[in-house]
Symmetry: none
Subunit: 132 residues, 4 copies
């Protein structure tokens, strides 16, 4: 089961709305179950460096079927997954990446958001993930 472009665009639209509500400018990426990009949008004036980060967050969330921030807790110095970020051509392990599930609970893709504080990034990603 794979996310459709219509679903991905719906997620991005919901994320953009939330981003505007909280007065931020975001890069928003959605990948499918194979961790390949389905849709992307960069809001006017959003950080350019967050483009790649948002895509890497979405991929990271699908790579391990969990929120990116959870991995970041384990990849700290002394943690069990220290420096896991060196795999897969670069992971991003702070908050802002969330798996997207269908009604049956299967992971069909993931969303990654970057452009503000990690708290705001997560809030916007959640708005996108839950819109489907």
């Amino acid at each position: 089961m794979n996310i459709t472009l219509e679903q991905a665009e719906k997620a991005i639209s919901a994320a953009k709305q939330k981003s505007t509500e909280i007065d931020t400018k975001m890069n928003i990426a959605v990948v499918d179950a194979g961790a390949n990009l389905v849709a992307f949008g960069r809001m006017d004036g959003a950080w350019l460096g967050s483009l790649d980060i948002s895509i890497k967050k979405a991929k990271t969330a699908r790579f391990f079927d969990m929120n990116t921030g959870i991995i970041g807790e384990l990849s700290q110095p002394g943690g069990s997954l220290y420096n896991i970020e060196h795999s897969n051509n670069g992971l991003i392990t702070f908050p802002g990446g969330i798996p997207i599930k269908n009604a049956s609970g299967d992971v069909i893709g993931a969303i990654g958001v970057s452009g503000s504080s990690v708290e705001n990034d997560h809030t916007v990603a959640e708005a996108g993930a839950t819109a489907i």
Copy 2:
């Protein structure tokens, strides 16, 4: 002067419509004047390998402010730009990438389309580029 997300989404929407009209499934990418991705959409069932190609076509078109196919004519064996594709982490120099201009004729970005014959790719890219 830079393309806005709203303009990029309008271009993708027009490109999707044209793609459906001619019964194809496309990957569609729009970059800004800095050759950085602004928006992207992969239609359901479109070739997975065309994801990267559509983005590279859009970048290539903006890198040189011309249609990608024109560069491809010069990059052939014996041509003046032979194997220019090795630069910039990989160019795509066959048709499907077109610069996007504003009313004043300034290049504000580019669109790249991949997923069918290069003629169809170009047709769909043109539909997107002229929608703005």
Copy 3:
């Protein structure tokens, strides 16, 4: 629909048998519908450089849902897809990569074989692809 590890191992086993029959030593890779590696085997004494080629052949076949050799005919100098190999971190477009379909005709993955002439590579890949 995605290929299973059991199916992938069956394909590799059939490919190895065919490879031995025609007295060759092969690298054999199987990717899933997302173009991600599922299983791989390098026969003793097979060319080391064919490791990466077999994986790239499998990915290329899934990226465009066609035999790799077909793309190679179009990517020649003067061809419509000249130098497409620069995309997707490197394609391999000579024979030896074949999509794998299920009973319904859906592409569920692909196999890539490298280690001998391209004719032999294709023969061995076909033995693997049709074993499922």
Copy 4:
């Protein structure tokens, strides 16, 4: 002296069995004495991001002929090998990679396992390494 494909497949088979016993889903990679992939298997439903990690663990274990977790102890902030992960296109230095030796004690390859906790990854890797 180099690991054979038959030995590598035996190691993967033993690792898969152990993985099933402890109710995990693993990516399992075996490299030879040259640190090049010999065989690989991704169990159905295993984390996609663990594909690359399992290969990197196997390579890391052979690169330095020691368990990956030992390197991870030295690569911490302030440690003697701080950030060694930046070398060799990315190392993985937490547990799950183990050198494989022949009866004479020579290193003939290595196994890397990823898909669960690092303790489970190591347990499964050990089952594979000792099967030869």
